[in-house]
Symmetry: C2
Subunit: 405 residues, 2 copies
């Protein structure tokens, strides 16, 4: 008998019929003899509806109240799922983040989990019941309701799996796993049966939307095997596990792309120590997530610094940068929202140094200009014009022999 945490996303519990289908699957798992802890997101578009309502009501939205509002969503889906389980003869019981003992810091709308107590979950499991836990939410050290921000329900599931010593954490979603590229762009994309945590981290960080970066980090740090699969087909999906020697090391595992970022360029930055530090400290203080950073060669004692940020953070980034520019003796600040990033990810790259050359050649042959480059030990990313990015993904997918035969 093993213990499995199953997390169901918003589309998986999108309506009454979907909730009953999830209950049926949980019931099967239970009857197979496994213990189950279920984590649910809010139903379908509930969160969007609540945010729209908030915008209708007020221009001012205190973060604490936004959290109070949004956490209503999981409350509904979890209570409904317990009812559907009761209908199947499964004894289940719902728990809010607070009741499950998910203790967070006080950063409303983007709280970090400090501790998972889980006492009531252990008691319920011991009594042979199925705990159904609200994803995305916790309770702060100040006893206020908090939410965990983007990908919060995945993080809840992984944190519970770690705290309860679960054998696996199954992430049910509307796609059937992690693919070698976005199948909407590359029809030949293959579902990957297994990827390593490191690869998954780079896939998530470079535009693969299946799992939130943060939940993968948490799973890696706590050695929780993840299984990403579809709640529509119920087929086996992609396992995200620790890398081991026996794992087949593809040179390139996946081609990802990201169209959600914008490029900021600060022109004529004095080439002196400490200038870049001031700039990126100021951005960090405004909670702007800077991704790729490129500093061009110094000319006549000044340099241009370019970096990418999520488009939602662009206004904040420009505000910070334009305020700081005169102070640090820099010139104008340019924004470019017409960029996209294409990345290659593969643990095998570590031992195959020719990958970047092949990537650049492939793009050059198609006349796709590379504007920024960044690399890690298992990833190479290029920023290109947004209108060329899908073509770039397809070309690279073929060039690295990822197409299904």
């Amino acid at each position: 008998m093993s213990l499995v945490v199953q997390k169901y996303g918003g589309t998986s519990v999108g309506d009454a019929e979907r909730i009953r289908a999830v209950a049926d699957h949980v019931a099967r798992t239970r009857r197979r003899g496994d213990d189950v802890v279920v984590v649910v997101s809010a139903m379908g578009k509930t969160t969007d509806d609540l945010l729209r309502l908030a915008n209708d009501v007020s221009a001012v939205q205190p973060p604490r109240e936004l959290d109070m509002l949004l956490t209503a969503g999981e409350r509904m889906s979890m209570a409904l799922l317990v009812m559907a389980l009761a209908d199947q003869g499964i004894d289940a019981v719902s728990f809010t983040g607070s009741q499950a003992g998910i203790i967070t810091d006080t950063s409303h709308t983007r709280a970090r989990i400090l501790e998972v107590k889980g006492d009531r979950l252990r008691t319920a499991l011991h009594e042979g019941r199925v705990p159904v836990v609200a994803g995305f939410q916790g309770v702060s050290t100040e006893h206020d309701v908090t939410t965990l921000g983007r990908g919060g329900s995945d993080t809840t599931a992984v944190a519970l799996a770690a705290a309860l010593g679960a054998d696996a954490c199954e992430i049910y979603t509307d796609v059937s796993g992690v693919f070698s590229a976005d199948p909407r762009i590359v029809p030949e994309a293959r579902r990957l049966p297994r990827v390593s945590f490191d690869e998954m981290l780079d896939i998530a960080a470079s535009g693969g939307r299946v799992l939130a970066l943060r939940s993968v980090e948490f799973a890696r740090n706590h050695h929780v095997p993840l299984h990403v699969r579809s709640s529509f087909t119920w087929e086996p999906g992609t396992w995200v596990v620790e890398e081991d020697a026996a794992m087949e090391q593809a040179i390139v595992t996946a081609v990802t792309h990201d169209t959600s970022e914008a490029k900021v360029t600060v022109v004529g930055v004095p080439d002196r120590p400490g200038i870049a530090a001031r700039l990126f400290r100021a951005l960090a203080d405004r909670m702007v997530n800077v991704d790729t950073i490129v500093q061009n060669m110094s000319q006549h004692g000044t340099t241009d610094i370019s970096f990418t940020v999520p488009r939602v953070d662009l206004d904040a980034a420009l505000d910070v940068t334009r305020t700081l520019a005169p102070d640090i003796g820099a010139g104008e600040v340019l924004a470019d929202t017409d960029v996209a990033k294409v990345s290659l990810i593969g643990a095998g790259m570590r031992s195959h140094p020719g990958v970047s050359a092949t990537m650049f050649e492939t793009l050059a042959k198609a006349g796709i200009n590379i504007e920024m480059i960044s690399t890690s030990s298992i990833r190479i990313s290029c920023v290109v014009r947004a209108e060329r990015v899908e073509e770039a993904v397809r070309l690279l997918h073929t060039a690295f022999e990822l197409d299904t035969v």
Copy 2:
């Protein structure tokens, strides 16, 4: 400076515009210099929508989960109201029933309040903030979320007013106060500026829908003056206060009616001590709320017992009664859903014994047959055919000179 608890019902916070109107009124109260604690219900039809969803999902609805589901409603409205208040520059903060320290027993869907701690509310008030509290909900001694059943938000408001020593509890609703009769039936009905707790209890118990019986009882027991008023006109409404010698004692204050009950008759009940006790104990055990009870004259050692119950409890009442009838040697059990009750309420009745005679004469003159009669010191109720009840209300309103001139 005084402290006032303001409770806003579902229609008062029915949409974004209504929520902004409520925020505006709370802000005015605050700027006038008073401290305010706000209690809100779920928005408009939210509760009905959630119940429909539950029915779509499952035939089995564990009460604990129903409470978990329904309490999402107030969570939304209170967070939205705090946002709207923030927009008006008012520093407010929302509290769930649990956070407000409303401790209940473990009877899910109809919990009783055991204690109101209110520590976080006192702290918020001390800091000059406006606490906005979820009505209808609490937390049980087992740390589970509970709801207080029908009229629960009114009860929350009164309980908070009592616990915090508020000077008044304002109940905002979609009518402008308590009327001498239902204005939809009697266009000449007058709004009552003042009624006593005892009168209000009888008005609520006999069909006046403005305030839940339970909240009036709570207010009377804890000496909390109530002010029932409209959140659409914001005019002064009806004060419900302790009876005092100076109060003008109208003989009849109001004519109420109730079409929500059904009549059950148990035929041929042996006229022996203890039989009625067994019957009504069995009904109480099934949580059937029995209202009027009439036992006819005994004939040949048997008697007929008739009683009224809420129509929603009729199936349960018939089940209990029909199961018990053979045991107690009774004959058949008849159900009649085509009845209604008309009542006169007035503290002045105590000193005016002729009221019932006038009532019976008025109904007799119009050919309206009286099927059951019950009285208290300040109320007389008659059960009549349902199709005659509106006429009865109008006739009695005129007969007792309640029509506006």
